[in-house]
């Protein structure tokens, strides 16, 4: 079955993300260890970008996207990247804890 996709659709954006994840998985067998966390960080950014483009994001998501977007193109050491990822995780946890307590 041929899959007809339109560039504006969520389906196409998610399918391209799947392609990115699969290509990354294959590439990482041969690439330096530090590329793995970086690919996952980029994947998080791509998910947030899709959410933003499809009106699925909240100010929290947009803020997280902006933070990653601002930092991801600057080359960093593995240690600096890890520290950056940890600040994002704490931000995420803070937000999710709010969600949990509001339910």
């Amino acid at each position: 079955m041929k899959i007809e996709m339109d560039p504006s659709t969520l389906c196409e954006a998610l399918t391209l993300l799947v392609g990115y994840l699969l290509s990354s998985a294959d590439g990482l067998y041969d690439e330096p260890q530090g590329y793995g966390p970086f690919r996952l960080l980029d994947a998080a950014r791509r998910v947030l970008s899709i959410m933003k483009d499809n009106d699925l994001s909240t100010p929290f998501h947009d803020d997280l996207f902006d933070r990653i977007e601002k930092e991801i193109t600057n080359v960093k050491s593995d240690q600096e990247t890890r520290e950056m990822i940890n600040t994002y995780i704490l931000k995420y946890t803070e937000e999710m804890k709010k969600n949990l307590t509001n339910q």
Binding site: P7, L16, L17, V18, G19, Y20, S23, S24, D26, G27, E31, Y35, R39, D42, I72, T73, N74, V75
Partner: protein, 174 residues
């Protein structure tokens, strides 16, 4: 811009403005690649320019090394037919060196013209070849993501010359 200035101020640019690069500028950049040295003048390279936004999106899905949204991607390929015809036994090795030289020429010319670029080695070769309808003898080796720079990265640290360059005998300081 003087050549030496171009060499020392070029950076790998990974975030780009959406402004398109004029075609005449792209031609000039390609001419710079064409002018690079080539072992035995084999010129066993082929370039494929991708600039439609939808194709770029599809290409990016197969090229995890492309981080930002470049306005063009130049896929640099080796031409196995030319390698067989002109390259001899070491033809593939020579072709890779030629592609390296052509790439640096392209990077410097782009930088001189105000265009940022980043060489990309992380991509799924077979997937890219299939997506772009490459003939069997044309194999993607490298991509150059290009666009007007959104940010100029600071220079990465480099090993001091004393750590990797010696005079006359190995280990003798320069």
């Amino acid at each position: 811009m003087k050549t030496i200035e171009a060499i020392f101020t070029r950076r790998s640019v990974r975030s780009y403005k959406a402004d398109p690069i004029p075609l005449d500028m792209i031609h000039k950049i390609l001419e710079a690649g064409r002018a690079s040295p080539s072992g035995g003048n084999a010129q066993a390279w082929s370039f494929l320019l991708v600039q439609s936004s939808r194709r770029l999106a599809y290409l990016r899905s197969l090229a995890p090394g492309i981080i930002g949204n470049p306005t063009i991607v130049l896929v640099i390929c080796q031409d196995d037919e030319r390698i067989a015809q002109f390259g001899g036994k070491s033809g593939e090795k020579s072709a890779w060196m030629d592609i390296g030289c052509a790439t640096e020429n392209i990077l410097l010319a782009a930088h001189d013209l105000g265009v940022g670029a980043c060489p990309i080695g992380s991509f799924h070769s077979a997937g890219v070849a299939f997506l772009l309808n490459l003939p069997r003898n044309i194999k993607p080796v490298l991509m150059l993501a290009m666009g007007y720079p959104e940010q100029k990265p600071s220079p990465p640290s480099r090993r001091p010359i004393s750590e990797f360059c010696y005079l006359e005998d190995w280990g003798q300081p320069l």
